[in-house]
Symmetry: C2
Subunit: 335 residues, 2 copies
């Protein structure tokens, strides 16, 4: 079995009724009625991604709303809760309409004013509906990084819910209105980097929540090529080392890197138990072809196939780790 742990239903999020609803919210029209998207439209929006999964022999994907569309720096706490619920409802329906192919990962109605009890309630509600994990933006201010570090006590209600319900939090950036940080090329990686380092710095976090699990996407950002630096700085500052937060099973990374070289670096730097297969298909650069392979850049499966890992290790990366780290996914899997 091959599980893609990192997919976004970008085309579903781009449905005009969905985008129109958010625009109406942000222009203070606050529609009373949620947009009504037909099952046919939901299924159609997924045709492309399902056909790519078939072509690549991906059995199941953990799918979440479009990351850019979280954009929780906009809107009020109330609007953002409704917006997250709308997106989660669509994700759930899309998963149900394609049985055996997807498991739902949720979006959260974060807000710079950080009503994290509300966010915790959303985790509870959507976990009951079958969600297996949630994207959590460590910024939440549109690339301006004006909040306190996400690891602080103000987010403890979120961490309590995530630990109690056994759902990992995926530290994923969102839309950036900061021109220094274009979203897919910089902001997401900045979120990965500060996400990982803040987890090294947070002395009490994993003492208070020993079973809390974070997923750092995009191959851990700079982790593979800066792990030496972070080991040194951690020692100098008496932070937890990268090895400690990885080794304790609190932090995981995915394989969203886009050539053989970068995939091998990931395998060389990060313990295999901490690695989940992922592709972002077809989100960050749909259809763009890697001239080295003649195939889409986001067919990350072939980079894993090409690697020096043994067959047993590949199957850990392709499925076993995802099943262990996302235990609630089992109900969505056929076998």
């Amino acid at each position: 079995m091959i599980i893609d742990s990192h997919q976004h239903f970008v085309r579903l999020a781009k449905h005009p009724e969905v985008e129109g609803f958010r625009q109406a919210q942000l222009s203070a029209k606050n529609p009373d009625v949620l947009p009504s998207i037909s099952d046919a439209d939901v299924k159609k929006s997924l045709e492309q991604v399902v056909s790519l999964m078939d072509a690549r022999n991906i059995d199941v994907a953990f799918a979440s709303p479009r990351a850019k569309a979280m954009a929780t720096h906009e809107g009020t706490p109330e609007q953002n809760a409704i917006w997250a619920d709308l997106n989660n409802g669509l994700i759930l329906r899309a998963c149900q309409l394609n049985p055996g192919r997807f498991a739902p990962v949720g979006m959260l109605g974060q807000h710079p004013s950080c009503p994290s009890e509300q966010v915790a309630k959303q985790i509870e509600r959507w976990t009951k509906e079958g969600f297996v994990a949630f994207n959590f933006d460590p910024d939440g201010t549109g690339g301006r990084w004006q909040n306190q570090p996400f690891t602080g006590k103000h987010n403890y209600p979120v961490f309590e819910a995530a630990q109690a319900l056994d759902v990992p939090l995926v530290l994923h950036g969102s839309e950036s209105i900061n021109k220094n940080f274009p979203h897919t090329a910089v902001q997401y990686l900045v979120a990965d980097i500060t996400g990982f380092v803040q987890l090294m710095m947070a002395k009490d976090l994993f003492r208070d929540f020993p079973r809390l699990r974070f997923l750092i996407p995009h191959g851990g950002g700079a982790l593979p090529c800066q792990i030496g630096r972070w080991r040194a700085i951690a020692k100098y500052n008496s932070w937890a080392s990268p090895d400690e937060i990885l080794g304790n099973g609190n932090v995981f990374v995915d394989t969203c890197v886009y050539n053989d070289l970068n995939m091998q670096m990931l395998f060389d730097a990060v313990p295999l138990d901490n690695m989940l297969f992922g592709s972002e298909c077809d989100g960050a650069f749909p259809g763009v072809v890697n001239e080295q392979t003649g195939d889409h850049y986001d067919n990350t499966r072939r980079y894993v196939d090409d690697s020096k890992l043994s067959a047993g290790d590949k199957s850990r990366v392709f499925a076993a780790n995802a099943r262990r780290v996302y235990p609630r996914a089992s109900r969505w899997l056929k076998s």
Copy 2:
């Protein structure tokens, strides 16, 4: 010959008279008289770094003021110009007092209001004094990243001066007052990452300044492990690819990464012509020991020695590239 292209005179910057001067500036006392540091004090502040260079067989280092102390988000444009001149004067004296061991790299009196003509004049002044390159903070707002991207036309006076005088600009972050971005662990890497990506995005920059050269320190930040992602995004967005800005000789990286694994990744990902030996010794984590080697983390020389590079390639990385990219350094070199 071995040239360390990335050193900061941290201990010199920590001299109480120097730190006291900046504190007096920032409390609006604006002292009329610059602090008077004796030659003995200047030499003493460098004893440790010279002995480490001797132990590691480093012949020469390109040395600049403490990166954290640039902190150009504080102070007025006038204060920051004086502050940069003070630091540059000390660096120059330190280089002159240790003939054949150092070449001076300057600090610039940047300011969020960006009087880049003033910065350009500082480049002219200190280049005449013998400076071989300048650190340029792509943020300049203390980790808040509130300026427009540094590649914009507002910085053209700086780029004109740097190209005309044939001095590279080292894109180096500084102090961060943003708790999300601790300076050595996150802010510097964020500066590297957005620095590199902004250079991919800036369509006109290298058309307008074809001989302008930037050095991205810290092994290029995330470049080695995210080059696949950036190739894909560049193609999707019609930006210059990483290969283009490296191949055209506009962008270089140093070897400030801190174990054998990360050094080999750098050599595997970035063309050797674009790579300059560097160590940050003894800045970011002075004295911290790498348990894998039993030696200081920042003895990066041994990671190059341990690598699979041929002797000829090592000598390019150790010296030939630095001499080519920093042509003004020749007057400071013995041979």
